[in-house]
Symmetry: C2
Subunit: 206 residues, 2 copies
Amino acid sequence: MVNLLQTRRLQRYRMALLRLKKMGLQKTFSHSLSEETGISAVLIRKDFSQLGIRGRRRGGYNIDRLLEQLKLIFGSEKEQNVILVGLGNIGSALVKYEGYRQGNMNLVAAFDIDPAKRTRRYQVPVYSLENLRDVTDTFDVSVAIMAVPEFSAQETASYLVENGIKGILNFAPVLLKVPDHVLVNNINVMVELERLMYHTGIKQKA
Amino acid sequence: MVNLLQTRRLQRYRMALLRLKKMGLQKTFSHSLSEETGISAVLIRKDFSQLGIRGRRRGGYNIDRLLEQLKLIFGSEKEQNVILVGLGNIGSALVKYEGYRQGNMNLVAAFDIDPAKRTRRYQVPVYSLENLRDVTDTFDVSVAIMAVPEFSAQETASYLVENGIKGILNFAPVLLKVPDHVLVNNINVMVELERLMYHTGIKQKA
DNA sequence: CATAATATGTGAATATATTCACAAAGCAAA
DNA sequence: TTTGCTTTGTGAATATATTCACATATTATG
Ligand SMILES: NC(=O)c1ccc[n+]([C@@H]2O[C@H](COP(=O)([O-])OP(=O)(O)OC[C@H]3O[C@@H](n4cnc5c(N)ncnc54)[C@H](O)[C@@H]3O)[C@@H](O)[C@H]2O)c1
Ligand SMILES: NC(=O)c1ccc[n+]([C@@H]2O[C@H](COP(=O)([O-])OP(=O)(O)OC[C@H]3O[C@@H](n4cnc5c(N)ncnc54)[C@H](O)[C@@H]3O)[C@@H](O)[C@H]2O)c1
């Protein structure tokens, strides 16, 4: 029902709405949202309309209601559990991250092959990968954040998939091979930087 | 010349090519690349063709040559300098990151308002934001990585733009308002996780 | 050297995404 | 309660992206 392009936009809407809400506003209009997000007002209305979200012909959209409806479409009702694999530089930052809660998510455990990492000094218990299935079963986890080195990324991903993981947020700069039913989202800092450089370069010429 | 959709694909091609190269291959075909990337073979050929990259009617594409040509399109010839603003959890991981070099980039300095962060214990010098213009001028920096808290993200972004930054890689979960000539790429862990959850959820139903 | 096999390259066709144009709904004000 | 203004909602038109279909180049082989 919701396509991939749309999901990105919906997330943008949500962020814009949160901002407007924080500014004390209670309702908004497709044009204001357009201003905030850079997405055209018609497209915003089409998106909402397609999702069954309806505004008032002159009063616009109620921000709280809109946020609720968007949350219904994404964020599931019940809290979702997530795990983290790889407690290095990035991994340990992610463990300390405080944003999970407000997205109705819960980081329940971390995993690392290095026994030295498996101490109690982190905010979550750290296990060996052997315990993966136990944890995913107990906490009904189907999504993992993966912050392991490039060279072990594919191997780790395959292992995660074998153990029931269906979604991977991958920080390693590697294209992972996974079965069709598994979704990978890559976060690749270098790729993003290069795109920035490319576009700032373009602008100079134009 | 290269649109935004394409840039994403080109990056995928590059990663796939690097992988094939590492496997010892020297040439490849649109169909193999399709296999690797999940992008259709015709589209790959169209992309290449549009970029002026030509293969041999039966011998496919030479991997090294292809990589070079892609590099010509993105990565500029000369090394590009980048700065980092915000040396907290994420920021200090990014300072330790070793991937910049291979993308022909150089992290030249970091900035933080907290004087306690401005020590020599990091891999790069850490300055107060007052020194921003000095650094950007000296090193000809137009792209910044921003890893500051949500509440100061907008303010920081505006300051960066005022001082000549044209591209921002933003880790704060906030939609930044910037002038048209500035490009922002957002890295938002929660958004990516939510998309994973959404799609893994969908699959269960289908 | 002819023939078959394999891949590229690309115009035309199709599919998808976005904008245009405008009717209908809701509110305000007279 | 009529009139005018504002904003949504949506079919039709347009624009953009992708695939189809196939001509064309290249190599291998008998
Ligand atoms: N550090 C950064 O800022 C940064 C930025 C962008 C991308 N990345 C990428 O993120 C990944 C992690 O980077 P990092 O700097 O945190 O690396 P790191 O070497 O500091 O950490 C990697 C961690 O993974 C663990 N590990 C290794 N193999 C494992 C396995 N098979 N299973 C479980 N754990 C395993 C190691 O013990 C270590 O704790 C790398 O692929 C890197 O390219 C890092
Ligand atoms: N930690 C994570 O894993 C994680 C994950 C996703 C997103 N984020 C986002 O990344 C950002 C940084 O997260 P963090 O966990 O590293 O936060 P943090 O609080 O650990 O670090 C923030 C750093 O920014 C500095 N800072 C604050 N205001 C500044 C300013 N105006 N100019 C320069 N420096 C300033 C602070 O002194 C601190 O060193 C936040 O917006 C957070 O939401 C973090």
